[in-house]
Amino acid sequence: MSNIANIFDNNKVANSGETSKESISGEFTTLNLGPTHPATHGIFQNVLKMDGERIHSAEQTVGYIHRAFEKLAEHRPYTQITPITDRLNYCSSPINNIGWHLTVEKLLQVEIPKRVDYMRIIVMELARIADHIICNSVIGVDTGAMTGFLYIFQQREKIYDMYEELCGARLTTNVGRIGGFERDFSPAFHTKLQAFIKDFPAALTEFTNLLERNRIFMDRVIGAGPISGERALAYGFTGPNLRAAGVDYDVRVMNPYCSYNDFDFTIPIGTQGDTYDRFMVRQQEMWESLKLIKNAYENLPTGDYHADLPDFYLPAKDEVYNNMEALIYHFKIVMGETKIPAGEVYNSVEGGNGELGYYLISDGGRTPYRLHFRRPCFIYYQAYPEMIKGSLLSDAILTMSSMNVIAGELDA
C-alpha cells in the first residue's frame, strides 16, 4: 500500500500545473474514491484528481485485503491449498479450485477419466455464468437499473444451490479433489441442473431484454472506459476484457484443458473495448457457457468420478476402516506425507475474469517450494487510470464495475 500522505503531498505540486479552461476555480480537487465506497464493490481506493467533473489522474491503492496466500501456500500440503484458491476470485471459486487441481495433476502427470473432465466443464461453466451474472447485473445497478439485477440473481442462487448439492458450500466451495471429485453428482444435483438448463434461457432473455438494447443503458455505457486491443495486450489483459477489445484469446481454445476441445463453442469478441462491449461479451459468453453445460451434460460419459490416484485422492471411508492399504494412504494424505516429483509447472485456466495461472515450483517436499498465482485482475487493473483519464466520475464507476475487479483476487 502506498502512503496516502504522500499522494496528498504530490497533489500540492500538481495543483500548480495547468488546468483546463472549463475549470472554474482553476485548480484540481482531490477526491478520495474508496476504500469503502459502495460503488466500488470491494475495498479499492482511488485518489482521483478532478478537474471540475472530469478526472485528471487517478492513483490506486491496493492491498487492503492482502492475506499472504503465496506465503501460506509454501507451508501447506498440496491438498490444503485448494481452500486458499477459493478466496481469490470468490465469484467463481470452482474455477480456481479446479485450476489448482489441474496444476497438481499436470505436475503428477496423471490420467484423468473423461467423466471427470466433463463434470469439471459443467461445474466451471456454471461458475462462469455465476461470475458473469454478478458482473453484468452490477453494471446495471451502477447505471441505476436495479430490476435486472434482482431478477437474474435468482439464477445465481440456483447455481449456488447446485454447488451446495455438490460440495456442501456455496461461496468458498473447495469443490473437487486432486484427481477428480469427492463424490458423484447426486440425484438432487441432476434435477437442479436439468431445471437450470431448462429455465436459464428464459431468465437470461429477460435480462437481455431489460438491458442489451435499452436506449438509456446503451447511451450510458457505450464509449465509457474504452481501451484499444494493442493497449489491452500490452497491459496483460485477459478474459472478457481483452476479448471486448477485439483480441480473441481464450485459454479454453488456445490451450485446451479438461477436454474443452471436444466441444464446439464460439468466442464472442467486441470491437471498441468499452463498457458496453465488455458487457456484451459477458452476455454472449453466458449463452456459450450454457451451450457447453448442455453438451457436456448430454454427453456425460459413464465411469469413475475420480482418477486412480491413491497418493492424493482420499479412499472411501469404509475402505479406510476395513482395508490396511487404504488406511495407510488415508493417513499419508491427511498428514501431507505423499511423494511429489520435483519440477516446475505453469498451468492456466480461463477464469471468470481472465487467465488464471498457477506457477508452481516443487522441490519434492510436502509443500510447494514456491507458488505464484497469476491473478488476472491484479494485472489488468493497472490500466484503470489510463482508461478513465478525462472521463466523468460516473463513467469511472462504470468502468470499474465492468472490468470485474475482484478484491480477493487483486490482493491475494
Partner: protein, 168 residues
C-alpha cells in the same frame, strides 16, 4: 500460421544470446531458459518485436528465493506468450543477494509495472528504471520482504505472541 516449436525457439534464442544463454530445459511443455540478467531488456524487446515469434504478451512476472544457491539466491521469472504462434517461454534471471538489482521491463511491457512492484515488495529485488518502485500489497512501513525464505510465516515484527505460550 507457422508452427514454431520449442526446438526452433531455442535455436533462435541461442543465435541471439550466444554465451549469455546459461541453461535451457523443457519442463512440462514450456521452454525454460536461464540468461545473463543484464541482457533481460534486450531479450524481451527482441522477442516482442521479432517478426516471426511475436511474443507480445507478458503472461507473468514473479520472483523466487533460493537461499541455498550460492550467488544465485534470487531470481526473476518472466513468462512470455506468443498469441500468434501459441508458444510460451519462461525466462529466468538469477542474481546474487548481494546485488539484487535488475533492469525494469516496464518500458517494454506496461503490464510489468505492478508485477515488478509486487516482486520488489515480497523479495526486495530492485528494478532499475521502474517509474514508481514502492510496496504494493504490504504496508509501506514494513521492514522486511516477506516471501524470502528466512522470514517465518507469522509476522516477524509481532511482539504480543510469546513463543513460550505456544510450546516453542
Amino acid at each position: 500460421m507457422t508452427s514454431i516449436d520449442n526446438d526452433y525457439l531455442l535455436d533462435i534464442l541461442q543465435e541471439k544470446l550466444g554465451a549469455d544463454l546459461y541453461h535451457s530445459e523443457i519442463t512440462y511443455g514450456i521452454l525454460s531458459i536461464e540468461i545473463n540478467r543484464h541482457k533481460n531488456i534486450e531479450l524481451l524487446t527482441f522477442l516482442r518485436d521479432h517478426k516471426e515469434l511475436q511474443m507480445s504478451f507478458m503472461t507473468d512476472l514473479c520472483g523466487a528465493h533460493f537461499p541455498d544457491h550460492k550467488n544465485k539466491e534470487l531470481v526473476v521469472i518472466y513468462h512470455l506468450h506468443s498469441l500468434v504462434n501459441n508458444i510460451r517461454l519462461r525466462i529466468k534471471c538469477f542474481m546474487p543477494e548481494t546485488e539484487q538489482v535488475i533492469d525494469s521491463a516496464v518500458e517494454v511491457f506496461p503490464a510489468a509495472n505492478w508485477m515488478e512492484r509486487e516482486t520488489f515488495d515480497f523479495f526486495g529485488i530492485k528494478f532499475k528504471g521502474h517509474p514508481n518502485l514502492i510496496r504494493i500489497l504490504n504496508m509501506e512501513n514494513m521492514t522486511y520482504h516477506p516471501l524470502r525464505k528466512e522470514y517465518p510465516l507469522e509476522d516477524a515484527s509481532r511482539e504480543d505472541k510469546k513463543d513460550k505460550f505456544f510450546g516453542r
